[in-house]
Symmetry: C2
């Protein structure tokens, strides 16, 4: 981002270019603050139980009520053995592990409860483990939580483990955002001083806040949550687990681990029951994390006969091509352009964002729709796609993204950063300034979409296919929900397939975490997906670079790959 002459006059300076010479006060512009505190819970759509679920059969965490014979001089069996004896007799549970924290209160708990207790047991490990012992019969409720840690947004599903239903959802920005917008800046921050501990604490606090919010609404307590599954990209998983992530950004891009062990909530400072098992689901590589393996599960990519292309666009574009038989995947450093970052008037998809644009082919005057219906503040990802598609189709830009300054409209002009197109005049904008898209913005967006498209081609070629062979394309991530397919194809972000082949699935990562929370076999499926998936490392691949260069045009240098766009262009001529 560069500053305009107005900004400079207004006293603004780029902090990255500024030498600090004395004490200084930092303030964050109010728009950013408000944006960051706005929850995106509306994006967590209504979730239904995804498969047949019977907690007695499928659930690893369970509650058992026992009435224990009180001890006498004639039967002086110790407390723990008495409890174990009854659990074996009534429920055939044997060889239990019991954590010290539970044993330290066992004598008191049993006597206070007059030897009638509910035992919470985790059957997910090598041996069943006592998680909690509660007074009396408390077998009426059992909660778990599924969590998606996005680089930007954290989503928590509170789940009734008896019915399998998501009873509450809560989402908010990842508290780490204030230490860096993207994965790379988080890794850099984690590598310095106490950075890793701080980032771990920030994401744990975000999760804790969301858990508190969800349990408050449900009128239960965070301590009643006895199991948690989590997904996220490999950097998010490393930071949550307190594993240093620096090798993720250094050649040859190696994670400490892709299959994290199950840990206890207390080890990660998560405020659910401290002895609750916390399962960070397995990923594949540094840039192919559990968010994608879980997404493959919940999208069904791994379980279909159709050749399926699964895409999760966020800060990175991660994609998987496959069928029931095989899976190949890759990640493209698309950058955060589609999240509004690195674009002069870009912003997230919240109130005031232009989310759709039409340009009149004769007058080049735009019409646009603003989220919330008020005045425009900037452009979000879907707005940018829509805008670039319209600019291209109407000839405001050529296929290289150059803005045609010869057009007979004041909307095209040379600004601070070169050629630009004005979407909204200052009078109609909420910021009091013209809202524009500049040549550098277009270039950024072209690079992002080119990286993603090149990824599709690399995946298809790796299995001897072309994109025409894709029988369905499944799109995960909240971004997808607002995407206009036609326009995304026009700019070459999506491949040119019949529209009915595209399906938007919402938060596939969170849904995968939820499925793994419910059923052990679903969790095992994710591990199997991670194992089966071939990962293409594109970083050092010249073929990828060739494909990327070819895709840097609108929609592509090779128009035979975009037959539908060719027709539209022909019609426009």
């Amino acid at each position: 981002m560069r500053l305009s002459a107005d900004d400079l006059k207004g006293g603004y300076a780029l902090s990255c270019q500024t030498v600090v010479e004395g004490d200084l006060e930092i303030f964050v512009p109010p728009q950013e603050e408000i944006t960051r505190h706005l929850t995106t819970e509306k994006t967590a759509a209504k979730v239904s139980v995804p498969f047949e679920y019977d907690w007695r059969v499928h659930q690893t965490v369970a509650k058992y009520f026992v009435e224990i014979e009180p001890p006498t001089l004639a039967d002086n069996t110790d407390d723990l053995a008495r409890l174990e004896r009854e659990l074996a007799r009534a429920y055939d549970l044997r060889d239990l592990d019991a954590p010290l924290a539970i044993l330290r209160t066992l004598a008191r708990t049993l006597r206070d409860a007059e030897w009638r207790v509910t035992v919470v047991i985790d059957r997910g490990g090598a041996r069943p483990r006592i998680v909690d012992i509660l007074p009396g019969d408390q077998t009426l409720s059992l909660y778990g939580a599924a969590v998606d840690i996005g680089t930007t947004t954290v989503t928590v599903y509170l789940v009734d483990l008896f019915t399998g239903e998501v009873v509450e959802t809560a989402a908010d920005y990842n508290g780490q955002i204030k230490r860096g917008e993207d994965v790379i800046s988080r890794i850099v921050f984690a590598s310095k001083g106490n950075g890793l501990v701080e980032l771990q604490s920030l994401v744990a606090q975000t999760i804790n806040k969301l858990v508190e919010r969800a349990t408050l609404r449900r009128k239960c307590k965070p301590h009643e949550i006895y199991k948690m599954t989590l997904v996220g990209n490999s950097t998010m998983m490393h930071i949550l687990l307190g594993l240093p992530p620096e090798q993720i950004r250094l050649t040859p891009y190696i994670t400490t681990l892709n299959h994290p062990p199950t840990v206890l909530a207390t080890e990660l400072n998560l405020n659910i029951h401290p002895e609750a098992p916390v399962d960070c689901l397995p990923g594949v590589a540094s840039y192919m994390g559990a968010d994608i393996t879980a997404g493959v599960l919940s999208s069904g990519t791994h379980d279909t006969d159709k050749v399926t292309l699964f895409l999760d666009i966020g800060t990175n574009g991660e994609m998987v091509l496959g069928t029931r038989e095989w899976l190949v995947s890759c990640a493209c450093s698309a950058g955060p352009a589609f999240e509004g970052a690195g674009v002069f008037h870009g912003m997230r998809a919240t109130t005031g964002a232009i989310e759709e644009v039409y340009i009149n082919t004769q007058t080049y005057e735009p019409t646009y729709r603003v989220i919330g219906g008020g005045k425009a503040c900037g452009l979000c990802g879907s707005g940018l796609i829509s805008l670039i598609a319209e600019m291209f189709i109407t000839g405001v830009t050529d296929k290289a993204g150059n803005i045609n300054l010869t057009l007979p409209t004041p909307r095209v002009r040379t600004g601070e950063h070169g050629a630009e197109y004005v979407i909204a005049w200052a009078a109609e904008s909420d910021t009091g300034a013209d809202i524009v898209i500049t040549k550098p913005d277009v270039d950024n967006l072209l690079r992002a979409k080119a990286a993603i498209y090149a990824g599709y081609v690399m995946l298809a070629h790796s299995v001897g296919m072309t994109l025409k062979d894709v029988e369905q394309m499944l799109i995960g991530g909240s971004f997808g929900q607002y995407l206009n397919i036609e326009k995304a194809i026009e700019i070459g972000l999506l491949p040119d397939l019949p529209w009915e082949r595209f399906h938007f699935l919402g938060n596939t990562a969170a849904r995968g975490a939820y499925m793994a929370l419910l059923r052990r076999d679903a969790r095992d499926d994710i591990a199997a997906i991670a194992k089966k998936m071939t990962y293409l490392e594109l970083a050092a691949d010249n073929a990828f670079n060739d494909q990327f260069m070819a895709a840097l045009f609108l929609p592509h240098t090779d128009l035979t790959q975009f037959e539908s766009v060719r027709k539209v262009l022909q019609a426009a001529e």
Copy 2:
């Protein structure tokens, strides 16, 4: 203990009978302080490897050196999987557990060590677990520690786990002593406020100090200790584990557990390697702890065809009767009289203690031996036994323990606490006062020995035997080392068996912990002993009370049980 007129004149008062009316300064008499800081390491006799030992076969903790292929873009397997791949290939080790603390430094450790590391693995649990990862080849040494937590003394054996040898021993008073001399006072202290946490910390500090002392002498570091086994009575084990011990002293005397789970050193604040497995060995009941089950193992009581009586006299008298086929046990509240407590001039077996006494049958003049050879300060346990036996045989007391004040010697007299016998006149004593034994002292000692003897009888009767059927008697605990068999029989503390049937074994508890440290099957043997052992609860047993009353005489009301003593008495008449 009561105060003499001289003491009262000197300004002494009993603190338990005194109301504090203002600020006061407490000082501990120097003799007590010195005594407490004297280590009893000399009692930890030279220990030899007790059985055939091959660490490759018997040891649960082991070190493995691996050279790992560094990662490349073509082989981007994660760090943990690379390590596991190499451990599987070179050593057939699979399905490893790895604690978070190790994983958090894995990336750094592997790279700093240039992919050549030594992995410490604990194979003692359900799955092998990584305990530590060290740079380079560090397979030359491997240490463990065996610990006996006595109510009074803590003993640590530092063990070379490759050779199986005890390379250093260290012993000191249990730091909890300042919060109570015996088990009951510790339980009471633990039940109040922060008492349990304080006592846990005190014993952990004692162990840490001893570990430091032993490793310093060995020129290694506490962190190089990768395994610890511990024994102690059930109260000591509860406190170490942070389990509230109060139920141990309340009817029906129930422990939280008798078979503690293996925990990590860090959970108990033990300063060995934080991830080292710490195994508190199993006991049987509130008053039949791991010190005795381990003692049964190391004494071989569980593995002989001879009918064997195993005794460990400390504050409690715990005993086991059995053979290879069966084991019965009981505990008698003997009290600490044989440790010198509750006796007017009693003291521990340190410098200045009278440890042996002879009384002239004509003049009633005593001859005695003092530990260290200097002037006498008081009487230790073996001195007391010797003294009472002599007083009885020479007629200074009758069989009820009454001192005969009519004897023609100034050594018998009526003192502050009734009848007493003077062993040392003020001029020969280190304290400048007469050293005496009083009637209340004799009564205390008679009660202690009666409780122990009644225990023997109860055990024998429970299996339809008499004490004559005992083919060997094995005596553990440091006390036994200084015991004069003849005199112990004369007072009725030991049963009247041929002298060659008695064997003094030293610290059988520590030796059992050491055996369990070396071999997994020895540890399993202790668990099997605990399971097999029948425990007789004497607290509410009238038959025990009858036996106790009958044994309150010298040597016993029933002289047919003490044929050898009858002969001595006849000869003396």
